[in-house]
């Protein structure tokens, strides 16, 4: 399907074949410390395998965003040539970028694993959640409702562990969250009752009804993710690279014009890319001319604003916005 393929951009199309990289790794693995990405990769692979071994029914949360794309690659590193000992799950708000959904389906099919899609619309239809999105109010979204759908899907699938792509550098509350983050039977996080996490010894014991959110990327930064994407030649949804798009400005952010949101100001066409991928209703674009990974890395290295501060309306609400949502069971 050429229309989908055109929506994908190979990271660094000019790079040479994998054996070159391997020989580089081999030659440096004995004498010096490993490259820090290699150390982070080894740590994440270890986390994946611990969860697979110690918990009964894990699931990997996959949004089609860059962090979960890296997560998927790390799962391949941990379990290939075997199958993943868990399915992949997407919580679909119904407001995603179409490029991302196309990517999601294609990628999961490529790796030959099972995809579960949990829809917020189903939660609304079943009366489990009440609509909070209003197309005439930019900034309104189904973001909070995802939590209901996620918790229902976890309960329904009887999952006891959910891998997520959260990183500690994203936000202050995240900086104190464990790699194994416990949720009670209401899915809630209690920052005061976290288990000590010493060495690489993770304690995955839980009671029935409880589950663990596991964050193998905890120690990665936004730039690490991009360097890894370049190293691994990972495909990304096209919206991560500069493209012409019709946008409008609202509350200091650039929103995409879409069927989900009515522009509050005069739309204009701009060369933009996305730094994070969330709903079209709340994810802001940044002006950019970066069309390949190396350019994105340069832009991010030079930026003076954090990714969530720049592009996520949901995190700008209050200083403790993320902490509050996490307590309720957010990703």
């Amino acid at each position: 399907m050429p229309d989908i393929v055109s929506g994908l951009i190979r990271a660094s199309p000019s790079v040479s074949s994998k054996p070159d990289r391997l020989s580089v790794r081999l030659s440096c693995s004995r004498v010096t410390a490993p490259d820090h990405l290699h150390a982070l990769e080894s740590e994440a692979v270890h986390v994946f395998r611990e969860v697979a071994a110690e918990l009964e029914r894990p699931v990997l949360l996959f949004s089609g965003g860059k962090d979960s794309i890296v997560l998927l690659r790390l799962a391949e590193k941990a379990f290939r040539p075997g199958r993943f000992p868990f399915p992949v799950m997407h919580v679909d708000t119904g407001h995603n970028f179409p490029e991302v959904l196309e990517y999601r389906d294609r990628r999961v099919e490529e790796i030959g694993e099972r995809l579960i899609v949990a829809k917020v619309e189903d939660s609304i239809a079943a009366g489990r959640a009440r609509e909070e999105w209003d197309a005439s109010k930019p900034g309104s979204s189904r973001n909070r409702l995802q939590t209901v759908t996620l918790l229902d899907a976890i309960e329904h699938g009887r999952f006891d562990a959910a891998f997520g792509g959260a990183r500690r550098d994203e936000e202050r509350a995240r900086a104190k969250e464990r790699i194994f983050s416990f949720r009670d039977d209401f899915g809630q996080w209690d920052p005061r009752a976290q288990r000590p996490e010493v060495w690489n010894l993770y304690n995955g014991r839980i009671r029935r009804g409880e589950h663990v959110r596991v964050f193998p990327l905890s120690n990665w930064t936004e730039l690490d993710i991009w360097h890894y994407i370049r190293q691994e030649e990972l495909e990304l949804p096209s919206i991560y690279f500069a493209h012409e798009r019709e946008v409008f400005e609202h509350d200091g952010m650039l929103y995409a014009v879409s069927e989900y949101v009515e522009p509050s100001s005069e739309p204009f066409t701009e060369s933009v890319r996305y730094r994070t991928v969330g709903d079209m209703t709340i994810t802001g674009a940044v002006r950019s001319s970066a069309t390949v990974v190396a350019d994105v890395i340069s832009e991010i290295a030079a930026t003076r604003v954090t990714e969530r501060g720049e592009t996520r309306a949901d995190d700008r609400t209050s200083e403790a916005a993320m902490e509050d949502r996490k307590r309720l069971g957010y990703f």
Partner: protein, 636 residues
């Protein structure tokens, strides 16, 4: 500023960032300026982004950013102005990537400091130049040393407040060096800084007399890589990869290297099974490797078709770790509820989890001197102590000082599922909790049913276990019970604690560990006698719950009646009797570890029978025990 490294760009080969990772832990309180230092590092290295900086300015006073508030992540911390939990911070310079585990300094949060230090390669200890090395600084240094951190830095802060007095700094510097020396840390350096003003943190500062590098330059240069791959091979098997259509031989054993170097062709021993084989391939998703070293996550293929599973350890032959059921360890107790000897926990070590009992609490560590204090009755939150554990299955471990991965473990409360302790192995010994079987030895069944044997003798077997203080009257009652049982046609045999120590336990002293071993032996002898169809009457002080529990478990597992008898005699009465003059010796300090005087006696919580010798005469007591036995054999 962070830029993609130029060599990769030039060749087009993506090699990641080419930077080494340094994990460091900072310890100190807000008063020392620790958070300010971290804020300064991030700010001057231009790693604080504009929106974060804006927030800091909103919190700060007089237009200066509140650097300290960067590290206070949780609402409760901001509200109370304290750091409660470990916060992880990340920054990158052109030479290195850093992970900072920022830990609170107060004694109340020792467990959080242990958490942060457990993965750190370098510790930054904050010292207020006005106060010098205070007790808290010593604690931080000792904890870092205890957790195996080999590189230490003293950030002597607030130098501006002592007018950059060189002699002040030099005094602290030499005291810190001496402390590091005492801890066995050979790389220790001091830096005179002002975190608030930024002197000698990222840029050089006010002191003309200081000719060393700024702190960051040192952090970028310190050599933490040279010991990579040193030591014997250790690879804990974490997961078995079975290729989808793979034959059995293609299984791969996956894990993260914990020590040594691994190459195809290496001979390995699989522990605890003990089988030997050869590594045929070291694999990753990206293809085979010529060699791997910690912290690589890899998988291996083995020459022989062995049944290797999670929890086993691949090791270099000739350099095997110790294997055993008795673990002597240093632990940091991390739970609000106290730990007492005798309690059962789950122990997770590398990829293996086993049940364990706390055999004894041996001493409490004084962190300001690293000296041993007398053992407490129980461990409280944040205590650091030496303890002895017995595990239900053998543990294969190295001393923590030799390997920070295969020497580390956590304890888990099996009721709450909480992680309650971080532990560091000091020694692994063979003796321990009673094994189901000795390896290579099978229990020989005589083929004769116990009931059949008992019926032909016209008798029943049982064990009566008398516990109590020395000179409480145990042996007198035991001898009387033996007599009336035998007279009544029940064969019985009196196992006297003192007599047994002449032969069977002649090699043991009176330390908690030796007492446990003595009781283990007596319990076994009693079980054999009972199984044979006689009444074994054991008379031992047996002061510890867990030892008596072991004796009971042993009998219950074998389906044999067991009667625990508490001979309850007040210590004043026992001391007055003192037929062997032992109390007198103990009071005079000439007898160590004497129960009731210088060693504790744990009163049985639920004995089957309690005998109060001050209120009942010997024959009445013996008669009651005989009746209790009969009730066990022939329940109404």
């Amino acid at each position: 500023m962070t830029v993609p490294d130029s060599t990769a760009a030039a060749t087009g080969v993506p090699t990641g960032t080419g930077k080494q990772l340094l994990r460091l832990a900072t310890a100190g309180s807000v008063d020392d300026g620790k958070s300010t230092l971290i804020g300064r590092l991030l700010l001057d290295a231009k790693l604080i982004l504009q929106d974060t900086l804006d927030a800091l300015h909103r919190n700060g006073t007089d237009g200066a950013p509140d650097l300290a508030s960067i590290t206070d992540g949780l609402r409760a911390e901001r509200e109370q102005g304290i750091t409660i939990d470990v916060a992880y911070r990340y920054f990158t310079t052109p030479r290195r990537a850093f992970i900072i585990a920022d830990t609170p300094g107060h004694e109340r949060y020792t467990r959080n400091m242990v958490t942060g230090a457990s993965t750190a390669q370098l510790a930054v200890i904050l010292i207020d130049a006005r106060h010098g090395i205070i007790e808290q600084s010593r604690r931080h240094a000792c904890l870092s040393g205890l957790l195996g951190i080999r590189h230490m830095v003293a950030a002597v802060n607030k130098m501006d407040l002592v007018d950059w007095d060189e002699s002040r700094f030099r005094a602290i510097e030499s005291e810190f060096s001496a402390l590091a020396q005492q801890l066995g840390v050979h790389d220790a350096r001091s830096f005179p800084i002002s975190a608030l003003n930024g002197d000698n943190v990222v840029e050089r500062g006010a002191a003309g007399w200081y000719d060393g590098p700024p702190l960051l330059e040192h952090l970028e240069a310190v050599d933490v890589a040279s010991d990579r791959g040193a030591g014997p091979l250790r690879l804990p098997v974490q997961w078995v990869i079975r290729p989808e259509d793979g034959a059995r031989g293609e299984r791969r054993y996956a894990g993260q290297l914990a020590g040594g170097t691994l190459r195809p062709g290496d001979p390995v021993v699989v522990l605890p099974a003990g089988s030997r084989t050869t590594v045929t391939a070291v694999e990753t998703h990206d293809g085979p490797l010529e060699s791997a070293a910690p912290p690589d996550s890899v998988s291996v293929q083995l020459a022989d078709d062995l049944d290797v599973g999670r929890g086993e350890l691949l090791c270099s032959p000739g350099q095997l770790p110790a294997s055993g059921r008795r673990i002597e360890a240093t632990v940091c107790w991390m739970s609000e509820s106290p730990l007492r000897a005798g309690e059962h926990v789950a122990l997770k070590h590398t990829t293996r989890t086993v049940r364990a009992a706390v055999e004894s609490i041996d001493s409490l560590l004084d962190l300001t001197t690293l000296g041993d204090g007398p053992p407490p009755d129980e461990l409280s939150l944040n205590d650091i102590a030496r303890i002895t554990l017995r595990t239900a299955a053998p543990i294969v471990a190295d001393p923590y000082t030799e390997n920070r991965t295969t020497g580390a473990f956590i304890l888990i409360d099996e009721d709450s599922n909480d992680t309650v302790a971080a532990g560091m192995v000091r020694r692994v010994r063979a003796g321990g909790r009673e094994p189901e079987h000795s390896p290579g030895v099978t229990w020989h069944e005589s083929g004769l049913e116990r009931e059949h044997r008992w019926d032909s003798l016209g008798t029943r077997g049982a064990t009566v276990w008398l516990t109590g203080l020395p000179a409480s009257g145990k042996s007198t009652i035991a001898a009387q019970l033996e007599r009336i049982l035998v007279e009544d046609g029940h064969p019985a045999y009196f196992l006297d604690g003192d007599n047994l120590r002449h032969g069977l336990s002649g090699d043991l002293a009176f330390s908690p560990a030796d007492r446990t071993e003595n009781i283990r032996r007596v319990a076994h002898v009693a079980r054999l006698i009972a199984d044979a169809g006689m009444v074994a009457i054991a008379s031992l002080v047996s002061p510890a719950h867990h030892d008596r529990a072991l004796a009971r478990e042993l009998h219950e597992a074998a389906g044999l009646p067991f009667l625990e008898v508490y001979v309850d005699t007040p210590v004043e009465v026992a001391e007055k009797r003192d037929p062997k003059g032992l109390y007198a010796l103990a009071r005079a300090g000439r007898l160590q570890d004497f129960t009731g005087v210088s060693a504790p006696y744990e009163v049985p919580e639920q004995p089957d029978v309690t005998v109060r010798t001050a209120e009942e005469d010997v024959s009445a007591s013996a008669e009651r025990l005989k009746q209790a036995l009969e009730r066990l054999w022939f329940p109404a």
